[in-house]
């Protein structure tokens, strides 16, 4: 149980959550809540694995995964933006749909065997930094490095650019945005699509890099729902999303590793002597997600930094209210 290795693996598996959470941030900043992340991730993971197994080209698998999940997200966009249906129910339906479709098309994929994966490499100079170098820059998948670049980019895009300003306007006060000539419906469709692309990327990150393979529903194992918890915890801020994702990633790895040594901090390790206690460890990420929501909700009140004002409310042109 080497803490450096736990953190290193945590950053790797946290990248899955990071992409999904970033996608959710774009989604929700535009005012649309999408609970279908789990379904889109499964579609992404299945498509990425399936395309790569057939063609031997992991990059093609990655792109296909993003487009497939993006396409699925447009069903949610149509139902919630054009048909103005309840976003909670529609998102749930999307998860069912995505899970079902990926199970049907993923039938037999688990026997596909070894496929070519995305490259893993060490960054020459940065990896020499003590401690941090090993955690962040040694033997990581290229997707992990993409994650490092994506977070500041997303922050800059949302907070410092004109399209980002429009994005926030649409999520905070769509009527005013509309009056300024911003296409509210169009932008919401677009950002739901971005959310889909990133959820697809997140799914592909699982099946092509972090824990390669297709294990039906267990491939994602509820990480899409943890991502939704992280969106709230992050208060729609990419940097906080990064911190939360890596924390949960490290927690996943810690749960696996803690059962290894017989002696833990000088005491007999109960998880070593009774491996069944591992079931209680398995509860931790889910319990932590709930805890994170409790903390997140309190902090959101304190800092007046809560959700986008129009989150979850359909925009109907000409109607009063936001």
């Amino acid at each position: 149980m080497d803490p450096l290795i736990i953190l290193q693996a945590g950053v790797a598996s946290g990248t899955v959550l990071l992409f999904a959470t970033l996608g959710g941030i774009f989604n929700e900043r535009s005012g649309i809540m999408n609970l279908g992340i789990e379904g889109m991730m499964l579609i992404g993971a299945m498509t990425a694995f399936s395309v790569t197994a057939k063609t031997g080209l992991p990059w093609l698998g990655l792109v296909a995964a993003m487009l497939a999940a993006g396409a699925l997200s447009q069903i949610h966009a149509f139902i919630t933006i054009t048909l103005q249906a309840d976003q909670v129910v529609s998102g749930l339906a999307l998860t069912f749909l995505g899970t079902g479709i990926s199970l049907v098309f993923g039938e037999g994929l688990s026997k596909a065997g070894v496929i070519s994966l995305l490259p893993v490499f060490t960054i020459p100079i940065l990896s020499q930094i003590p401690i941090l170098g090993k955690i962040f820059f040694e033997n990581q998948s290229i997707l992990v490095y993409i994650g490092y670049l994506l977070v500041p980019f997303c922050w800059w895009y949302i907070n410092k650019t004109r399209p980002g300003l429009h994005l926030r306007a649409v999520g905070e006060y769509p009527a005013a945005a509309d009056a300024l000539g911003i296409n509210v419906y169009g932008l919401r469709y677009f950002y739901v699509f971005i959310g889909g692309l990133l959820a697809g990327l997140s799914g592909a990150t699982i099946s092509l890099a972090i824990s390669p393979g297709w294990f039906s529903e267990l491939t994602t194992g509820g990480q899409g729902w943890i991502a939704i918890g992280l969106i709230i915890f992050s208060q729609w801020n990419p940097y906080r999303a990064m911190f939360g994702s890596y924390f949960f990633g490290a927690l996943r790895r810690l749960i696996l590793d803690i059962q290894g040594p017989a002696i833990l901090f000088g005491f007999a390790n109960p998880f070593y002597y009774n491996p069944y206690y591992g079931f209680f460890l398995q509860m931790l990420p889910y319990a932590f997600t709930i805890l994170v929501l409790v903390i997140g909700s309190k902090e959101a009140i304190r800092k007046h930094l809560g959700a986008p004002a129009a989150l979850g409310i359909p925009y109907i042109r000409g109607q009063r209210g936001i």
């Binding site: 249906a85 339906a93 049907v104 039938e107 729902w225 997600t289 309190k298």
Partner: protein
């Protein structure tokens, strides 16, 4: 572009026809709502067929198989009812919560905890093996109700006290419930190292139709059990609560118009907690009914996603407790037949398509669609 209130922009210029949506002001007749839902299901089955065909399956053979292996004879219909029983209870659980726009997605976890609590009565054992059957039914049912209810209490309190989104907390609790049960299956009540408990004593089984086989030969081999009776009683009680009690009125008012409910002085937070408890208790009863009526031992994999199918059942039944019974039978058929269908994801996929189609179709209930020829200057 027209922007009258209540209209949304139509796709002008692409088609020679103009499609106009107008919000309905008056209530639509009941048959219309029913026809829309029915149409949505048919549409969903068509989409499902296309997906199946794309995945290389034979959609018509699959559908015919579902029909035959769930309604083809008295025997299989009895099995369909067995699958429908937990769905009715879980569908009721979701209906109660959804009526208040409280999104309890945790019926699956509450089902597991209900099954755990009922099993605990038998395996600890709280009742001796020789206790009479009626006593077992009363005590295990109470255990299931309490177990599920307590498990619903957690997200209820979190929502009322900390405003924690119940969708996520109930979902997280699903995973926790599965791990909890697994611990007891693997470590505590394991029989000879297998991942299941010993078979429950016969006295604790819910009575089945086949038990009457010696008196009424026609019932021989029919597995429909007493849980169905519990489910139907529960449906009546839920209907009475929702439509004939003050509490139910307040629940519906909160669901329809939370602002009005606040002004009327209805204690919303208190209702959130108690509705979650009721919802969880119903799902817990489903777990009890399944474990003592069908499985007869404590083990994993006792639910092919009943908790999630219950959401679709509730939605399709428009949250009406009696409609839940009939919709559950249809979905029971899908689950029963689904066990033999390849690829194995088909029932889930069909359920997903049905739910999406239903939600989309709701638009036709809320809006009037009129199609007219496009004029030159629209």
């Amino acid at each position: 572009m027209q922007t009258d209130s209540g209209k949304i922009p139509s796709n002008q210029g692409i088609f020679p026809f103009r499609i106009k949506f107008e919000e309905r002001i008056s209530d639509v007749p009941k048959w219309y709502t029913f026809a829309i839902s029915f149409g949505a299901v048919v549409f969903a089955l068509l989409i499902g067929a296309i997906i199946l065909w794309l995945a290389g399956g034979n959609p018509w053979a699959t559908y015919a198989h579902i029909g035959r292996s769930s309604f083809g004879s008295i025997g299989v219909f009895s099995d369909t009812l067995v699958k429908a029983t937990p769905l009715i209870l879980v569908g009721l659980a979701c209906s109660v919560a959804f009526r208040m726009k409280l999104w309890n997605i945790g019926a699956e976890g509450q089902f597991f905890i209900g099954a755990f609590a009922a099993s605990a009565v038998i395996l600890i054992p709280i009742l001796p093996e020789t206790a009479p059957s009626w006593l077992f039914i009363v005590v295990t049912a109470a255990a299931g109700l309490i177990g599920g209810g307590l498990y619903g209490l957690i997200p209820g309190l979190l929502k009322a006290r900390f405003n924690v989104n119940e969708v996520i907390s109930t979902l997280m609790l699903n995973y926790i419930a599965i791990a909890w049960n697994n611990y007891f299956i693997f470590a505590v009540w394991t029989e000879a190292g297998f991942q299941m408990s010993k078979v429950f004593p016969q006295n604790s089984w819910l009575p089945r139709l086949t038990d009457l086989g010696s008196k009424i030969p026609a019932f021989r081999g029919l597995t429909t059990h007493f849980g169905l009776v519990l489910a139907i009683i529960a449906a009546v009680i839920v209907w009475l609560i929702l439509y004939r009690s003050r509490w139910g009125y307040e629940i519906r008012l909160i669901g329809d118009n939370p602002k009005a409910a606040t002004y009327a002085g209805i204690p919303i937070k208190k209702h959130i907690v108690w509705v979650m408890v009721l919802s969880g208790a119903l799902a817990g009863l489903a777990g009890m009914s399944e474990i003592t009526g069908v499985v007869h031992r404590f083990q994993g994999a006792i639910s092919p996603g009943y908790g999630f199918t219950g959401i679709i059942v509730a939605w399709l039944a428009k949250l009406n407790p009696f409609a839940v019974i009939f919709v559950s039978i249809l979905f029971g058929a899908l689950i029963l037949a689904g066990r033999e269908i390849q690829p194995s994801g088909v029932p889930k996929m069909i359920q997903g398509v049905i739910l999406v189609s239903l939600i989309a179709s709701d638009f036709l209930v809320r809006y009037k669609v009129s199609i007219s020829r496009q004029r030159a200057e629209a």
